[in-house]
């Protein structure tokens, strides 16, 4: 078909439209699929748990707390939950030893243990402990120290666990992890009973949560996505693309549509807008490509910006998502300079020695202290009703 020069801009706009739409729909589909996949796996995990599949406590507990992103490992509850809930959380935070503390609010005691940053580091890098004797309540003396949980730290509260040996600390950590697991198990069983009993008593449960909830769309102004919705998205997109191609390829040239104002030709349009005349001589393929590229790039930018805004919204504003605030005592360095009076009486010509430093007692040398607003989670909400800490709901 011989398409006239006048229809160049039609084709260009067609290209733009097609590329933008296809990109957007591809993006939505991908992210939808990914999230759906993760959600499915999380659901599967839940079903496994409900059916009472034996999962050894140690693997689950230890595995869940290690910052491994590889999914070849045996699928365990905590890892699935962490990954499924927020991929960005896993990606955007660098692997710091403090990250395990984001699950700290699972057990209130763990908040105190966030001081053991260096110890966490060593825990994370050591190989997965294979066997673990579930003699949880072999009473370590540390248990007596943490009398009760207090969300506000003070300079004196960081002294806990300082007297323990490395091995003792590792054993303590292991025992607490397994305690957490067992308690979460109990919560699950209690919840089942709660549901049964309330069903017996006829108490209506108001919300039936879908197993696969909506995902908010990354594109502004579009409704949230679900798996069913996704089909509609596909259909709309493809039909729009087809329509635009038809329009640009067939209908417009047939009707000899000219997009200039008042039916003017392209060259006339350019000159009437007082733009340089070279624009009217641009090659149609180059023009289509440029138009398409601009459309695609700006669409991607819009989506990314929206994504960033959404993620930022979830961050704790006080610590900007890190979970920690800089320690004021040592100004984030972790060490205090000991100031000793220097006597110049002796009058020797030796240069002054560098001042001695000691570990800052406020932050135990880490340079940062717990953010009391988010309790080291880094997220804006750290309440008990947060789905991130309630894997059975």
């Amino acid at each position: 078909m011989n398409l006239g020069l006048n229809d160049r801009h039609l084709r260009q706009s067609t290209t733009v439209g097609v590329s933008v739409f296809s990109l957007l729909i591809g993006f939505e589909a991908c992210s939808g699929k990914n999230r759906g996949q993760i959600q499915t796996q999380g659901v599967e995990m839940k079903r496994l748990m409900k059916s009472g599949t034996e999962l050894s406590p140690s693997t689950i507990v230890d595995g869940g707390f290690q910052r491994c992103h590889r999914r070849t490992r045996r699928f365990d509850l905590f890892e699935s939950r962490m990954v499924s809930l927020s991929r960005v959380l896993a990606v955007s935070y660098t692997v710091k030893p403090s990250i395990p503390c984001k699950t700290c609010y699972l057990s209130s005691r763990f908040v105190q243990k966030s001081k053991l940053n260096s110890k966490w580091r060593s825990m994370a890098t050591e190989p997965d402990s294979s066997s673990f004797a579930p003699s949880i309540d072999s009473d370590y003396s540390a248990d007596k120290i943490t009398a009760g949980f207090c969300i506000i730290e003070g300079p004196e509260t960081v002294q806990d666990f300082a007297n323990m040996e490395l091995q003792e600390i590792q054993d303590n950590i292991r025992s607490r992890r397994s305690k957490i697991f067992l308690q979460m198990e109990e919560v699950r069983r209690l919840r089942i009973q709660q549901r049964i009993k309330s069903a017996e008593l006829g108490i209506l449960k108001e919300e039936q949560e879908n197993e696969l909830p909506n995902f908010p769309s990354f594109i502004p102004f579009l409704p949230p996505l679900t798996s069913a919705n996704l089909k509609v998205y596909y259909a709309t997109c493809y039909s729009l693309i087809a329509g635009i191609i038809l329009f640009g390829g067939l209908i417009a040239p047939t009707l000899e549509l000219k997009l200039g104002l008042g039916g003017t030709s392209y060259a006339d349009f350019i000159s009437s807008m007082h733009l340089p005349m070279q624009l009217s001589e641009v090659d149609p393929i180059v023009a289509s490509f440029s138009g398409g590229a601009v459309g695609v790039i700006s669409a991607l930018m819009v989506v990314e910006i929206n994504n960033v805004k959404q993620q930022e919204h979830k961050r704790c504003k006080y610590c900007l998502g890190t979970g920690y605030l800089a320690c004021a005592r040592c100004s984030n360095t972790g060490s205090l300079v000991l100031i000793e009076p220097v006597s110049t009486v002796h009058g020797r010509d030796l240069p002054l020695s560098t001042p001695k430093t000691e570990r800052c007692s406020n932050c135990s040398g880490s340079g940062k202290v717990m953010c009391p607003t988010c309790l080291c989670t880094g997220m804006a909400m750290a309440s008990e009703h947060d789905p991130r800490i309630d894997p059975f709901d």
Binding site: P155, C327, N332, T373
Partner: protein
């Protein structure tokens, strides 16, 4: 109402007002126990003193402290930024102040815009105070409220004491510590705020206006007292320091009352009623009417009365804004006028504060700015 009249008779000199449109997120009920010198003297001299009198004692004490320092230097000394020595690094401090600004912008947008009208130094100081107040507020009203214990509040108070002595715990405390070193801020209002938090969970009803006044003092009046030293009193002002503080207090109370009147429905849904029970009864209403959420004629009359009282507090506060430092008058006037308009909005909603949120539109907000500017140009004109 009787309590209010009593209070208005007390202050001497002109009331001069002060800022603090620091929006209070939650409402914290307080009991009558009140810390400080005033409590002891009150108990000895007169076993039954109204809240207003006790609060006034605090105001007098604040003013006295300030007068000591005023003897040494002018209160509105423009502090140039000095390198701080001591525990905080300069860059870290700047970062801390910036973080405070971000938090303020996030949680209190209108207030943040108001702070942009201030001088840069004052702006940072106000941000630091805001963040501390907000963190304290969130301890009992935020996402971790379920974990709060009296011990946690004690620790928080210990941190406050430490930071007033120049030993802040984390970077946001450090910003406040730096502010305190630059401006003559006293610790008492901060302690009173924590005291208020301590009694927070126990109270969700107020018998009379006296109790409500004490609560409003704890939550919002303290903020007014905290910010007077930052705003500064004009050197040419002849008004007494007590009157400036009183006006600041009045502005805080007025703001809190406005908040309460605006959020009646929201609070009721959480099971809280911040309206004095006696006054409800006087108009033939009860808690049930509040929970039912229907606007009747009785409700309208009751609301009219409440709004009138809130406006009275605003008027008291207005008398003192002119005594402030010239650079601080504009933002304070702006916040005063803006918050006053909320009362108008409640009236426009036909006193339906159950379902409709009394909202001042952006246009109106912007229109208040030049008006505030005009009023700010008028300096102190009282010579007493």
């Amino acid at each position: 109402m009787a309590g209010v009249i009593l209070w208005m008779v007390c202050p001497k000199g002109n009331a001069t007002a002060l800022l603090s449109l620091i929006p209070r997120g939650g409402k914290k009920p307080k009991k009558r126990s009140f810390r400080g010198v005033s409590a002891i003297s009150g108990a000895v001299a007169n076993p039954v003193r109204s809240s207003e009198q006790r609060v006034y004692d605090v105001v007098l004490k604040q003013a006295a402290l300030v007068k000591e320092q005023r003897g040494k230097k002018a209160l509105d000394l423009e502090k140039t930024s000095e390198k701080t020595d001591g525990f905080t690094d300069w860059d870290l401090l700047n970062e801390a102040y910036d973080r405070c600004g971000e938090v303020c912008a996030e949680y209190a947008k209108t207030f943040y815009l108001g702070t942009l009208l201030m001088t840069p130094e004052r702006r940072r100081a106000v941000w630091a105070i805001y963040v501390w107040c907000r963190r304290t507020d969130e301890l009992v009203d935020g996402p971790n409220a379920s974990h709060i214990t009296p011990r946690a509040l004690d620790r928080w108070e210990k941190r406050l004491d430490n930071l007033f002595e120049g030993r802040p715990y984390d970077m946001l405390d450090a910003a406040l510590s730096d502010t305190i070193s630059k401006y003559p801020v006293d610790i008492q209002p901060f302690k009173d705020m924590i005291e208020g938090m301590r009694l927070d969970l126990k109270k969700s009803r107020y018998m009379n206006f006296d109790e409500l006044y004490l609560y409003c003092y704890y939550v919002a009046g303290t903020v007014g007292l905290m910010s007077v030293p930052v705003m500064g009193i004009a050197p040419e002002s002849k008004a007494s320091v007590e009157s400036v503080y009183n006006a600041a207090l009045a502005l805080g109370i007025a703001n809190q009352l406005t908040n309460i009147l605006r959020d009646v429905g929201e609070d009721a849904r959480r099971g809280r009623v911040y309206l004095p029970q006696e006054e409800l009864a006087r108009f033939g209403l009860s808690d049930d009417d509040v929970f039912r959420g229907q606007v009747t004629d009785r409700w309208r009359n009751f609301m009219k009365d409440q709004i009138k009282r809130a406006r009275m507090f605003f008027d008291e506060a207005e008398k003192g804004v002119s005594e402030l430092n010239s650079a601080s008058r504009w933002p304070v006037w702006a916040s005063l006028l803006l918050y006053r308009q909320i009362l108008d909005a409640i009236e426009e909603n036909d006193y339906n504060n159950f379902n409709k949120r009394a909202y001042v539109g952006k246009v109106k907000k912007f229109a208040s700015l030049p008006v505030a500017y005009g009023r700010a140009l008028v300096g102190t004109s009282k010579f007493i």
